[in-house]
Subunit: 248 residues, 2 copies
DNA sequence: CGGACTGTTGATCGGTATCAATGCTCGTGG
DNA sequence: CCACGAGCATTGATACCGATCAACAGTCCG
């Protein structure tokens, strides 16, 4: 459940903006974003941010924390479509298509910047660089989904897991959530299972296999990549382009 | 291999534009699109339109025909990410991210409208309504991929096939490629297998099962949905919103 | 302390893969 | 016009990856 609505982080002093991973902003755009932002939303781990069918009037950027997008079949089978990290937009599909076909849930306590959805058109009309950034992010999400589809369609369970670990590590690293090949792993094996399309039981066995081969080390919410080379070989993973990305 | 470069269809007289499925255009936008379009590309069935790694300077809209997006692992395993039909943009990821991580191949003889990629920024700067349309299409593609991910992750082979048939039928219908619950099926069972993440052998058996239950009829490149209700029940499929969509 | 959730392990089952042979269709060239 | 070959589809036999079922262990928290 949504919580307090405070406004603590000024866009001009945004801690995310300082990170290497993100592109610097023109003043004009930054000033607009500062106005575009109407508040901050802090939610607890486990709470729903955007619900399928529920047309909240907001668009968000994750400022801090992990979330995940998911989608279910009527009988309850649930799939984790992707994870979301700081800098990722939440609710863009809703803002553009006026329809949401998935749910977004916080994995950790999460802070989000809140934008008014009805100003998206203003963005396109008056701030083309920002609009371009939004489209950039939509395209990048599409690219990640392409990767996950390839994974689910063609890779074995072990390969999928290796791929997902590398994928998550690299994304966490890009926003400063990793160091020394290690990152906070706020997800459960059940989350992984739902992302990989396998059962939790088999996930457990598969994780164990990677650990026994000394490829990873996962203890107490910290996951370490021990042998990146071998993991990459198993997964046929290639590190993504690390050119700087936009931030809204 | 790309073929002749002709220019036969004027945007103002675009046959696609007349279809119910698409939103009407403002004159200003239409005039620009007409200028934006630099030609037409006709390719034969089986030829590559956009190749991974290969930075062609073009962005396309499919004017006529079927294509498919796909992506492979180094060892050759290939996955069909999605199919593309008239009105669909090809190469948007390339235009926006400046990088393509998949290939697009023509399934039938296909005609494409060719746009200059380097004018995409002009679109955002001067034609916000068009830019919005592009983003709309990117978001819709993302939505479809979400659906396919749910399918691959959670549905059985039979359910996936039922889902894909309905999905393809409805998309074909929207652009006038279906009538009487029947549409041209230019794909092979191997294509389906690659989209569903199962083997061609198992695809054959699964298709057979749907036919024996009199749910579909697939003969000589024509696929008919015989019992939509039961298919929808098997697939847990819901027809997509049919509000009119943009066209570029 | 108790309960809820998460993860582990073992036994068994089943859906889909794999291997292999055959059939079908269609375009091509003799 | 027929023979042929290349893809594609079908069918059967068998193998295996991951699902399911079940019991139990660990951890956290009220």
């Amino acid at each position: 459940m949504p919580d307090t609505m405070t406004f603590q982080t000024k866009c001009h002093a945004c801690p995310l903006r300082k990170k290497q991973a993100f592109r610097p902003f023109e003043d004009k755009e930054l000033n607009f974003v500062a106005k575009f932002k109407t508040g901050e939303l802090k939610v607890e781990a486990g709470s729903t941010i955007v619900l399928e069918e529920n047309k909240t009037p907001h668009l968000y950027t994750i400022l801090e924390g992990w979330a995940f997008r998911h989608k279910s079949l009527p009988d309850g089978r649930r799939h984790v479509l992707n994870f979301a990290l700081p800098g990722d937009l939440v609710g863009l599909q809703l803002a553009i298509l006026n329809e949401m076909q998935h749910t977004v849930t916080a994995l950790t306590d999460t802070t989000l910047c809140v934008f008014q959805r009805d100003k998206v058109w203003t963005v396109f009309k008056d701030y083309p660089a920002l609009a371009y950034s939004m489209t950039w992010m939509a395209s990048r999400e599409e690219q990640m989904l392409d990767g996950h589809l390839l994974s689910l369609g063609q890779r074995s369970a072990l390969e999928r897991l290796a791929y997902l670990f590398l994928h998550l590590h690299d994304r966490a690293e890009a926003v400063g959530y990793a160091s020394n090949h290690t990152f906070d792993a706020p997800f459960t094996q059940t989350h992984l299972a739902e992302a990989l399309g396998i059962t939790p039981v088999h996930t457990s066995r598969t994780v164990k296999k990677l650990q026994q081969q000394n490829l990873i080390n996962w203890k107490k919410d910290r996951l370490q990549i021990l042998n990146r080379e071998k993991l990459e070989a198993i997964a046929a993973y290639e590190r993504d382009d690390t050119t700087r990305r936009p931030l809204i």
